[in-house]
Subunit: 265 residues, 2 copies
DNA sequence: CCTCTTGTCACTAATATACTCACAAAACGG
DNA sequence: CCGTTTTGTGAGTATATTAGTGACAAGAGG
């Protein structure tokens, strides 16, 4: 447990570099160089345990990606760019690629996406669920009902709700604690709070939302007890769309009844 | 030339997705789903040319990454998230990973990086050179001399120079056209302009800089004629650091002479 | 009840990547 | 100056990942 690969900065760095598309050799070479500052192929080979003869290829790869500079002497010396510059380089590159991807995908997308959906879809993982929720919030035009446990009400979501409020969407929130509720009242003056339907906090429920009365999503925290509250893989959601969708129909009945009871118009 | 893989949005999307770490099957499956909106394994198989029996694995991979939702029916139906959401998901994930990387690398970095360097280092590629230049600008404490051809004076660089000016760094610029010069005067009131030393625009030179009299960088556009002016791989730079560094010594002599002649203090 | 489709599994083929070794040219040290 | 070590390059092998194929049981539909 002393050199757990999840905690050792060296392993973390290598792992991330590999996921950014570098080969194992290149990743280890860069990490070695980063800790060395500067060094020769032999120096690198010794601390990285990359075969010396392969260090040169790794350096080529790194030089091509702009991560390493080369001093043309004998022996050659190599120099790793700083942590900030390296991470900045990746972010730049990836943002650019993400844009390319979005453009390409947009061109492919069919003009009208799912007008009316039958059935209930599933999404797993907290980040994926959050993405979907944000997308739903962004698509809201008139009314938005959102019930959530506190842990899942991130700033991102509050921002999203705020933007919806500015668009003129009427917002109904529930399931948040008194402190958070106050925070929200500041951010989104127009939001209406209401009591949870059942004892929300005791269940392993996560969130529950309805958009314009025709899109709904429900999530649950699958191992939500005392395990790891921040485990990104612990949430499972289902959603449905369309006026006749069964999930929508059921939730609409519940919410409409509840809201009408509290705020009759 | 009609279906050049560089231009076809489908190929671009697949290529980018693969570079984001997806398998070829997963990438093709996602693109197929994106153009279909929603579909079954067979639909996907037909338009993506992924073997039907492998579509399921690909979907698993995509579902794990939050890119596809699954409708549990028979036959199962799959739904690709929108282009914006997908690209947003990647950017989020990558920014997070870049942060992890930077933290890990920072912990590894030696406390004092290269106090005095002997020799001359090389950097290739316009983006890599720009990164280095920005880093140098950011490290300037007193004086900064920067000579450049117009193409290479991006907004990023002007911003960097502006920040340096605010820190109290005295800035000397050359090689820019009259229009750009005006723009700079607005952005950076403190900057001093001076005439180029030689007929800069006719050569294939790129930039030439000196920071605090102890760091220098020179670049050249290697195929800079009429080929592709925006080709990111067309710039090659060398740099050196330290009071006794040969490149530094030479350039310092030139610049100091020139500046003293124009602006004797 | 028969047939076609669907989803899962076990397996092979191809390919990329990790790793080793041999060797010439260049530095080093008497 | 010559033997020895170090350095950089290239060819070649092993290994792991991923692409691709086919068999089959369970389920849907006529």
């Amino acid at each position: 447990m002393s050199n757990n690969p999840d905690e050792d900065p060296q392993s973390v760095a290598i792992q991330q570099l590999e996921r950014f598309g570098l080969s194992a050799y290149a990743a280890r070479t860069f990490v070695a160089l980063a800790s060395l500052g500067t060094g020769t192929a032999r120096d690198v080979s010794q601390v990285s345990e990359v075969p010396r003869t392969r260090v040169y290829d790794a350096i080529d790869e790194l030089h091509d990606r702009g991560l390493v500079d080369i001093l043309q002497s004998s022996p050659k010396q190599f120099w790793a760019i700083s942590a900030e510059t390296a991470s900045g380089t990746f972010v730049h590159e990836l943002e650019h690629r993400a844009e390319l991807l979005q453009t390409a995908l947009s061109e492919l997308e069919p003009t009208e996406r799912r007008a009316e959906q039958r059935g209930v879809w599933t999404v797993d993982g907290q980040t994926a669920v959050t993405e979907r929720v944000l997308e739903f919030i962004a698509s809201a035009e008139e009314e938005l009902v959102y019930m959530t446990v506190e842990d899942l009400l991130t700033d991102e979501l509050i921002d999203g709700l705020g933007e919806a409020a500015e668009r003129g969407v009427s917002i109904h929130l529930a399931g948040v604690s008194a402190e958070v509720q106050e925070h929200i009242q500041e951010e989104i003056p127009g939001a209406t709070m209401f009591e949870s339907l059942w004892v929300w906090s005791d269940t392993s429920a996560g969130r529950l939302m309805m958009v314009d009365g025709r899109k709904t999503l429900v999530s649950a925290l699958v191992n939500g007890e005392d395990a790891s509250p921040s485990d990104p893989r612990s949430e499972t959601a289902i959603w449905g769309e369309g006026d006749t969708n069964s999930l929508v129909v059921v939730l609409k009945a519940i919410f409409t009844w509840r809201l009408d009871t509290e705020n009759p118009n």
